[in-house]
Symmetry: C2
Subunit: 198 residues, 2 copies
C-alpha cells in the first residue's frame, strides 16, 4: 500500500467526478479554484509567497483539516513546498496542526475569522518589518545629528520617525481590540468620523 492509495478521499472541495485524475491531482471546484488563485495573486502583490497564500486560501475554505497530501493534490505543487509553506504559515500564526483519531498524519487548519487573521498578520508584519525600520529611523536621526547633516535632512528624518512612532501607537491602541468590536465600530463609521472631527 503506497502513499497514493493511502490518501484520504478528499471530496469536500473537489470536483465530484468518479475518480481522481491519473496525475493524482485533486481538482478543486470552480469557486474554490477561483478564490485560491486570486488569493495567491493578492498575496504575491503584498510580498507573500504565492504558494503560501494559495495554501492558506485552500485551508480557509476547507471544511475539515487537510493533511499535506490533500494540499499537494489540490494545488499540484511539490510536497516539499507544501511542507515549507505550512511552516511559513505557522510562522505567521495562521495555521495550527490538529490530529484526527486513527490517523497518524498531521492535519492543518486555519482561522475562519478574517478579522483575527488580519490582526495576526498585522502583528507579524509589525514585528518583522515595522519595528526594525523604526529602530533604523531612530538611528538615522541620531547619525544625522552626529554628522551635522543640514537642518532640512535632520527634520525630514525626524518627521518620518515621528510618523512611525504614531503608527506604532495606533497599532498598540487597536491590536487588542476584539475583532467583533472592531468590525462593529468600523462598519458603523459614524463614530470614527466623529472621533476625527469629520
Amino acid at each position: 500500500m503506497n502513499v497514493r492509495d493511502n490518501r484520504s478521499d478528499w471530496t469536500e472541495l473537489a470536483v465530484p467526478v468518479g475518480s481522481p485524475s491519473s496525475t493524482g491531482m485533486n481538482e478543486m471546484r470552480p469557486v474554490v479554484q477561483r478564490f485560491v488563485l486570486h488569493w495567491g495573486e493578492m498575496g504575491a502583490r503584498w510580498g507573500i509567497n504565492r504558494t503560501v497564500a494559495q495554501v492558506h486560501a485552500l485551508l480557509f475554505l476547507a471544511e475539515r483539516p487537510l493533511n499535506a497530501d490533500d494540499i499537494t493534490g489540490a494545488l499540484a505543487v511539490a510536497r516539499s513546498n507544501v511542507s515549507t509553506s505550512l511552516k511559513e504559515l505557522a510562522g505567521w500564526d495562521l495555521v495550527k496542526t490538529v490530529h484526527i483519531m486513527g490517523d497518524r498524519r498531521d492535519h492543518f487548519e486555519t482561522l475562519h475569522d478574517p478579522w483575527e487573521m488580519f490582526r495576526r498578520v498585522m502583528a507579524e508584519r509589525r514585528r518583522r518589518e515595522f519595528d526594525p525600520t523604526a529602530v533604523e529611523l531612530a538611528a538615522c536621526v541620531a547619525q544625522a545629528q552626529a554628522e551635522n547633516e543640514p537642518e532640512a535632512v535632520r527634520d525630514r528624518l525626524q518627521r518620518m520617525r515621528a510618523f512611525f512612532v504614531s503608527m506604532g501607537a495606533a497599532h498598540d491602541a487597536l491590536k487588542d481590540v476584539p475583532p467583533t468590536i472592531l468590525a462593529k465600530t468600523l462598519s458603523a463609521g459614524a463614530a470614527v468620523r466623529r472621533l476625527f472631527g469629520g
Copy 2:
C-alpha cells in the same frame, strides 16, 4: 559641452569631496545612503520596486528638486530606469514635476509629510488592489450560491466579503481626515482606545 559637464553641482546630499568620481556617480553621504538603501528594502518587501523606492527616498531627503541626471548619478542606475521610476512615482501621486528658471530640464520633488504620503499610498493601493478583490469576492459569493456550494464554503466567502466591506468603510471614514488631525488623535491613543471600549 556634453551632458556630464552640464549637470548641476549637486552637493546637498553628496559626499563633499573635491570632484565627482570618474564614473560620473555622485556619492551620497552616509546617512542618506543608509536611508535610501533601507527604504529600498522596505519597498521591495511591500511590493514596491526597489529602485522606485530608492528614488523616492532620495527625493524625500533632497533639499531641492532633483533632475533625472542628479538621480542617475546618485543611485547609479540607468537613466531609462530613472525615467520609468519617476513615472511610476507620479502614478502613485508621490512626486511632482517642477521647473527652475533658466533650466529647461524637469526637476522632481516629493512630499515631505509622511502622513500625506501614507494617505496617498493607501488610496492608490485601495484603488488598484483592494477594490478589485472586493469585487472578486462578491462574485465568489454569488458563484458559490449559484453552484450550490456547501454552507460552510458560502459562509466563509461571505465573512471575507463582509471583512472587505468593513475595511473599505474604515478607509472611507479616515481617508479624508487631515494628516495633522490623524497624527494628533492617533498619537494620543487614549481617545482611540475609548472609542473601541478599551
